[in-house]
């Protein structure tokens, strides 16, 4: 398969009173065409900032401090703002976590979908409206002709997230970034939205970067998983291998929290302690202060990503690296 997007050494910094805070710290990964990749990690570990960096939507006090984002061979970080606008919403789209606040309250849902179509496609006004209604139908909003004129506050959270998905998919992007698309929804609706995303991914043959803290959702949709901790990638593996041959203690903790809950889904909050902020990182491995299998070496040097098998890498000294 060919690589669609190749993120290399991405570093995003937020200026704070204590100085620059490296919220995303040298992250590298790739997504192939039509592939679904999961990006998991506890809240606050830099998943959303990674997503927004790819879209170049980081605004002050944040800035992208280094790295490359190669998309279809072009470095997005080197594009002019005007060229980047042709990528946003067109080649790469994003669905945000907060369906309740992500739609503009003073415009109809249909108009907000139509606007994206009119912006990137050379079609007449009536044609863009017809296509917007088709998109609403595609995401299974009942009675789309009528719902086209509905305002966001007249719809439920699940319906609004469907509108967001319709908007994101309206220009048939090559890559969809879904940033916790179901976290804010009722449990009963979550499954439907994930199913919809799975189906649309296959139908439109687009790549998906699925950000979530729910490993069950990843297992359902993604073929590969990237695990992030405190701004850095700590493990990367095909989905089966990640579950069956977990290498990093942090990932084990995430999986353990599911097992302990005795169900396939739940919040990942059962690893003792919290994600440290970028100024409170321990010396050496950034997970060392919470790690149950820590030994001396962990506090002296940060491990590199160590290859375990061709597609499986882990940032842990236990995996036998030298350094």
């Amino acid at each position: 398969m060919d690589t669609l997007i190749d993120v290399r050494n991405l570093t995003t910094v937020f200026e704070t009173e204590q100085g620059g805070s490296r919220v995303v710290d040298g992250v590298s990964f790739h997504v192939d065409s039509a592939e679904a990749v999961g990006l998991v990690g506890e809240s606050g570990c830099g998943k959303s900032v990674t997503a927004l960096s790819i879209m170049r939507l980081i605004s002050s006090p944040g800035r992208i401090a280094g790295g490359e984002i190669l998309f279809e061979g072009r470095n997005l970080l080197a594009l002019s703002e005007k060229e980047m606008r042709k990528v946003r919403g067109n080649k790469i789209s994003i669905v945000f976590q907060e369906p309740l606040t992500s739609l503009n309250p003073v415009f109809t849902c249909g108009e907000q979908v139509r606007e994206a179509i009119a912006l990137h496609q050379k079609v007449s006004r009536s044609e863009s409206k017809t296509r917007a209604i088709e998109m609403l139908r595609l995401v299974r909003i009942p009675d789309p002709e009528k719902r086209y004129g509905a305002y966001p506050h007249q719809m439920s959270g699940g319906m609004r997230q469907r509108v967001m998905i319709a908007m994101a998919l309206s220009c048939e992007p090559r890559l969809l970034i879904a940033d916790e698309p179901t976290s804010a929804l009722d449990v009963s609706v979550q499954g439907q939205v994930i199913e919809l995303l799975c189906e649309l991914q296959a139908r439109l043959r687009m790549a998906v970067l699925l950000i979530t803290h729910d490993l069950a959702v990843v297992a359902q949709m993604a073929s590969r998983v990237i695990v992030m901790y405190a701004g850095s990638i700590v493990e990367e593996a095909p989905v089966r291998e990640l579950f069956d041959a977990t290498a990093h203690p942090y990932t084990q903790g995430l999986l353990g929290s599911i097992a302990r809950l005795g169900q396939r889904s739940g919040p990942l909050s059962t690893i003792p302690g919290n994600v440290p902020d970028p100024f409170g990182l321990p010396p050496g491995c950034r997970f060392s202060d919470r790690c149950p299998r820590r030994f001396e070496k962990c506090s002296s040097a940060e491990p590199p990503l160590i290859d375990i098998s061709p597609a499986h890498r882990s940032r842990c000294w236990l995996c036998g690296g030298r350094g």
Binding site: E98, T101, E115, L119
Partner: protein, 326 residues
């Protein structure tokens, strides 16, 4: 919607009635009466008594009040004591002049206020924003009469660029329509500027703050993620939301605009309601004062109603029909 309007209309009538009643009695509590102007050796107390009697001012106050209410309800504003002309006629002359002044000031207020506010927010912390902030504070803090006098000093007396008083030149006879229009426009510049600029400055500040709040909203991020250029994000997605609270502020500002017109009309000899009101108060010309109060109160109440309706039009979450908003 119509039920809402009917209810608001009834409320408005009651409110008007209360305002007028209070004005009536306050006016009578003030010392002096329409005869005060005539106190001189030629004007005997006997003559004053006769005039008072003819005006009905010798009757018990409460009786005068009811007589006046009855006349008012019929739409009869009475006759000016000072000019001995129907109040209706005086108002018909003064109201259009005041409207010309206040509408020009309001246009300045809204256009300049919103424009500068949006620009300031879009270029936050730029030199433009800083200059704007200081200028707004300056304009907002200086009194109208002082600003008016300074502008007259500079633009009328020093560089003779703009007239300092009246609505048009004395020699308008025989002017073409265009030169007449330009002449009137030139006369309008200074008074409208003085009347509108302070409100424009405060609206610019509100607009800036409101805009900055809105620009932090998630749906603005969505608009950017769609690929919209920044000017469309601001002018389409942010402006409509940011203008909502400002619409209310502009509506609430109207009474101050009419109050300011009193000062501005007096300074610039503008033959409007404000100047008429000041003269009428000095002369204790009761019918004129009461009629002007009525007109101003009615304008303010109507403006408030329009503000509520505008709010409902701008914000789909508000249904004006159901109790005027939630």
């Amino acid at each position: 919607m119509s039920r809402f309007l009917v209810r608001r209309l009834i409320q408005s009538v009651v409110l008007l009635f209360i305002v007028l009643t209070i004005t009536f009695f306050l006016l009578r509590l003030a010392p002096g009466d329409p005869m005060s102007r005539y106190y001189n050796p030629d004007f005997s107390p006997e003559m004053a008594r006769q005039v008072r009697e003819s005006l009905g001012l010798d009757r018990p106050l409460i009786e005068q009040y009811f007589r006046w209410i009855r006349a008012f309800a019929r739409g009869d504003f009475g006759e000016s004591i000072r000019y001995q002309r129907p109040v209706r006629e005086l108002l018909a002359e003064a109201i259009p002049n005041t409207l010309r002044l206040t509408i020009a000031a309001l246009a300045l207020h809204i256009l300049v206020g919103i424009f500068l506010g949006v620009l300031s927010a879009a270029r936050r912390y730029s030199p433009f924003d800083r200059v704007n902030t200081i200028a707004a504070l300056f304009v907002y803090s200086i009194p109208e009469f002082w600003l008016a006098l300074m502008l007259i000093l500079v633009f009328s007396l020093k560089i003779h660029a703009l007239p300092s008083s009246h609505m048009q030149s004395l020699d308008v006879e025989g002017m073409s329509a265009l030169s007449l229009f330009l002449d009137r426009a030139r006369h309008l510049v200074l008074p409208a500027f003085v009347l509108g600029i302070a409100s424009a400055a405060s609206t610019a500040r509100y607009m800036r703050g409101s805009m900055l709040d809105v620009l932090r909203e998630d749906y603005i991020r969505t608009a950017r993620a769609k690929g919209l250029p920044e000017n469309r994000v601001i002018l389409k997605h942010a402006l409509k939301n940011a203008a909502l609270p400002v619409v209310t502020i502009i509506g609430l500002d109207l009474p101050f605009l009419l109050g300011g017109a009193v000062i501005v009309e007096t300074i610039f000899s503008w033959p409007g309601m404000g100047r008429l009101a000041v003269d009428a108060i000095y002369a204790r010309d009761y019918p004129v004062v009461l009629a002007i109060n009525f007109v101003v109160a009615a304008i303010v109440i109507i403006a408030n109603l329009l503000t509520d309706i505008a709010y409902g039009v701008l914000d789909p979450r508000i249904t004006v029909g159901r109790g005027g908003g939630k």
